[in-house]
Symmetry: C2
Subunit: 300 residues, 2 copies
């Protein structure tokens, strides 16, 4: 079996990006970290870490990193079952870290309470588009994911969470300028500036297709932040698909309007968990389902 201290050293270097910070994280010297990683590399017979700034994992390193996380999670399950949890002064040192992929809008609207309701887990979040977050799980780089895909990844369980409602929104001044007559016509949409999260974000074109019968949108700002996306719409930079929970206040007080009222786009979301640790993650899964149901809508 692999030495747990060596696995922890590897995980700390990959998470913090440097041997120096890993040493701080684990409260040991930097040379202790170097030695443990080197021993692990000798045992495996291949480099595990690319010594860049920040340090990155080789393929073998990534696999052992995953193993380190799984071990921690399984061990916590044992501690819980044997009534050993929460007894030590330094109990946080035994808390497992869980790397998971979340879409930015879930994190901005309902996911934080789901994390907060679970005791004894450290979260290491990767943020990606809901259409791409499951790929992180497929590549083995995360242990769980919130994704728009209902198809279970191999070796993983998948459960529906509900749908996040998006509204095509812009400021009244923007609508006045670009859609002067109050009716949003496809020809105007081709010219009016739009806001896109990043190259993976298809929501604006999906909505335009559904509501206006055109996949075409105007020239785009690229703004990879959920809150900045809302702020930019309020400031009049463009129109964009915003999650309803993030814009309900601005819609109520008139800072934002819907481009076409009564034309929401509901995006179903699913919880994917690696089966090897799904038992250990039961409390988190329950918490995720609870927090999601408080904000998301039933999948139609």
């Amino acid at each position: 079996m692999f030495d747990p201290a060596q696995l922890s050293a590897l995980a700390a270097v990959l998470r913090s990006g440097s041997f120096e910070r890993a040493a701080q994280m684990l409260h040991v010297t930097q040379s202790a970290i170097s030695q443990r990683v080197r021993q692990l590399e000798e045992q495996v017979g291949t480099p595990l870490i690319i010594r860049s700034q920040p340090c990155r994992a080789t393929e073998a390193g990534e696999r052992l990193f995953r193993h380190a996380e799984e071990l921690q999670l399984l061990e916590q399950g044992v501690r819980r079952d044997l009534g050993l949890a929460g007894q030590s002064e330094n109990e946080t040192q035994t808390w497992p870290t869980l790397r998971l992929a979340v879409n930015a809008d879930s994190l901005a609207t309902w996911f934080v309470p789901a994390m907060a309701a679970v005791e004894g887990v450290l979260f290491d979040l990767v943020i990606d588009d809901q259409d791409h977050s499951a790929e992180w799980l497929q590549r083995g780089e995360v242990r769980a994911a919130i994704s728009g895909s209902p198809r279970a990844v191999q070796g993983c369980d998948c459960r529906p969470l509900g749908a996040l409602r998006y509204l095509a929104t812009a400021s009244p001044a923007y609508i006045e300028r670009w859609f002067g007559d109050g009716k949003v016509a496809p020809a105007e949409v081709r010219v009016a500036p739009v806001i896109t999260f990043n190259a993976k974000d298809r929501l604006q074109t999906r909505w335009a297709e559904m509501a206006l019968g055109t996949t075409v949108t105007g020239p785009s700002h690229w703004l990879p932040s959920s809150h900045a996306f809302v702020d930019a719409a309020i400031a009049g930079l463009g129109w964009g698909m915003n999650p309803e929970p993030l814009v309900s206040h601005a819609l109520a007080d008139g800072r934002l309007c819907e481009l076409v009222p009564g034309q929401p786009l509901d995006v179903p979301l699913y919880w994917h968990v690696s089966r090897s640790i799904s038992a250990a993650l039961k409390p988190l899964t329950a918490s995720v389902i609870r927090a999601a149901s408080a904000v998301l809508r039933p999948i139609g």
Copy 2:
């Protein structure tokens, strides 16, 4: 000279990540996009795009992408000087796109008004840590950056913007649990969960060093989102360095407290602009300075 339509096609593919979306963006067929990119590749004699999902630039492609952006910006300056701006129905088609690197906390606190005050520019934002955003400029991948570094990048101008104030904050329940006696001792900080933005984020250790005389912090959550960072602190997941403008409400109404009152950490920020387009970006530079001064503090 390079053909502008070919350069636009290249830029659209790299920005949107696919030939299909680039065609939608420029309102031409996908085969027109392919042809233009191929012609440009033939002229340069080397591949410009790596046909992956999403498409990425080769080194030569990156250089031409930058050139395309610079050309657009310079041409807009000419239009402005000749009084030709804003005359056409489809004027947004001539708006230049400006790729720039911004730290997440600037985007969350003061940068959106700076963008909104400038007419006729599309923004393509890259979000990175203030200690690393200038590297994007150095590599030529962006045309401007907001950075914590006061050193001008070669070929770029650099101006001070002011300092963003950070406060070490946590929820009252968290402080009660982990620092029961109300005094935050280094030994407790080693055990209490902390929140870190990502591997590049040194603010928590910098503050601990300054306020408590220890670089060591406890086990960490990793949460790469400014607003989720605040939400997680309010929910009691850990303590973390939050920008004062993002937490003033939560501090006032008691959802957050300072770990050690009266121990802020001020992070100076600087505006870096590529000199080749600094004249064209004068209106933006003025707007950035104005918006920054409304929120940032004088650099001490």
